[in-house]
Amino acid sequence: MKKPLFFKTLLLAPALLGLVTACPNKEMGIFFSIENERKLNDNVLPNNATLTGMIKITETSPNVDRYVASTGYLYWVRAVDNFDYHLNANQGGRWERLDPPETGWLCSALVYSGTTSEKVFAVFYNPNASVPTGKLYYADPGVWPLGWTEITLSTNNIAATAQDVKIANDQAFILGYTGAGPERDYFVWNCSASNPSALTTAVTGLDLGKIPSAYFDAAYAGSKYYVSYGYRLFESTSPSGSFSTPSGYTLNTTDAYLITGLLASSFYTDHLFILQKGRGILFYDGGTNWDSAANLAPAVPRSLAEIELTAGPNTGKYLLLATETGGYEYQVPASPDGTAIDFVLPTLTTNGDNYKTLELRLNPALRFFFDKGITTNSNGQQDVIFALTAGYGLWGNRAGSSDRQWNRE
């Protein structure tokens, strides 16, 4: 007996449709993800936090290392080997809150000048104020708890509002603006970490105009200072002035070419990585060579970090790259020649790491923070990689004896 066409269609159509469309997901397989998921530790920081900065500082007497992270609120925890979430902050366990300079104010930027001049810079603002209130502060990292001192900003005798701060070669670059609403004028101020004081003159040559942008960065490579803002890129041999667009840099004044970050390379002497929408990653030698790391092919790179693991199961130099579509890891060749990057397949995560299976994979880091750790022990160097995300909290990846695992901080 011939079956009705209706029943044939009923049987075959779903099966065929299923076979054709079995794999719409380009990220990873669901069953694969479940199979590789690892039980996460979850420290006390809010899992939906947006991280606005992270530093590691050392109190001088007694000698204590601490991590300080900003989610708007400031948190701290002692930096120790053999991290244990069950302990308190002083023992290197659970994060605790740190007071801002004024009650109720939030931190929108937090940086540390490094090892020479040693100052912490931060921008705080009052979230309940009806007018912009961003203020720049600095603190001595050797004294705990941090004591904040305000640095006022102005230009042409007009008081300015601080928005962001970056550090390059112990020089602080502060982004701020005068005016309000759409009539803001944006400027950059500079001060040495060794001598922070009131800033009354904006840096010359940094023509930022009236267009607001969340993308601001600074770096020092090859005896030059670089500042990026929106789609603009500037360079100068002096941190306080005479900035201009680097020769050979193709300026494209649309948001399709926003520069999302700068990184002065420690692996490739005098070189600068420029993360840019539309162009991926540019690799600049400070002269005439603008190599495009096109083989990365990220649509929008968000952050790049250089890390060197000297102990544990995956020693070597790595570039960690986060893009808007996911994270990547690339091992740097043993003998980089500095003129072209020959990225090789990622190896850091192939040894049981859970990076691919987490929200972190799908909600990549705004930036990474790498710490080589305190000492070495039987488990090898206890280095840690932190991933600072927007809306998905802070993640920590600590070296273990056999593999690495991402956990929520």
């Binding site: 009923l10 049987l11 099966a15 299923g18 469309t21 397989g29 069953f31 479940i34 690892r38 799908l362």
Partner: protein, 204 residues
């Protein structure tokens, strides 16, 4: 696991009073019950709830990886409509749904839509359907989404009640190939689950 079982028992508890409250067929004498038979043109509506046990993943290299603690027991439910092609064969459409949590409390949901073929073994008042479902499934985990085919062979056992109802349960194997190509080829997995459910059949 305990929560899933409790939820299923509670849900099923809502169904039982409705079934128990069915009035005897007034057309039949109280003490002279006559068996009703069904044939071509008749149809049934069924629904049920139960547990979905995650068994194991298999890959295209012949490895079998038990889910273990990676995925907890899930709750599931289904509704379906079937028509009798003959007195022993039914064909219909089933929509089912399940949820389960991974080791980090991420929720896996799967909503298979299948064409269902049933061959009925008659041991009156018991009916034992041998079934095969073929279709596709909407699978979601966090922000991941898949649309794989699904195969659901199973066997059930239902007791004919007075009136138009049957009550029983079924055991169904869910085989779900998530096939990937190119860069994700190594992530191809064949999901294997076992459904144990209680259900009711109403003859329309």
């Amino acid at each position: 696991m305990k929560k899933s079982i409790a939820l299923i028992l509670i849900l099923f508890g809502f169904l039982l009073p409705g079934l128990a409250a069915q009035e005897p067929n007034p057309d039949l004498p109280e003490d002279d019950f006559t068996r009703i038979t069904y044939d071509t043109g008749d149809s049934v509506f069924s629904f049920g709830i139960g547990l979905l046990m995650p068994l194991f993943n298999s890959d295209n290299h012949g490895n079998f990886i038990p889910y273990g603690k990676q995925l907890g027991y899930g709750g599931m439910g289904y509704i379906e409509w079937n028509a009798y092609l003959t007195s022993r064969i039914r064909l219909g459409l089933q929509i089912s749904g399940m949820f389960a949590q991974t080791i980090n409390k991420n929720t896996l949901t799967m909503v298979p839509i299948t064409a269902k073929f049933s061959y009925l073994l008659d041991f009156y008042p018991l009916t034992v359907p041998l079934t095969l479902g073929v279709g596709f499934s909407f699978n979601k985990l966090d922000r991941l989404f898949e649309f794989p085919p699904i195969l659901k062979p199973g066997v059930g056992c239902y007791w004919s009640l007075r009136g138009n109802w049957e009550l029983g349960g079924q055991v169904v194997y869910w085989w779900i190939p998530e096939i990937h190509f190119r860069d994700l080829a190594d992530q191809t997995r064949f999901g294997n689950f076992l459904e144990i459910s209680l259900g009711a059949v109403y003859h329309l």
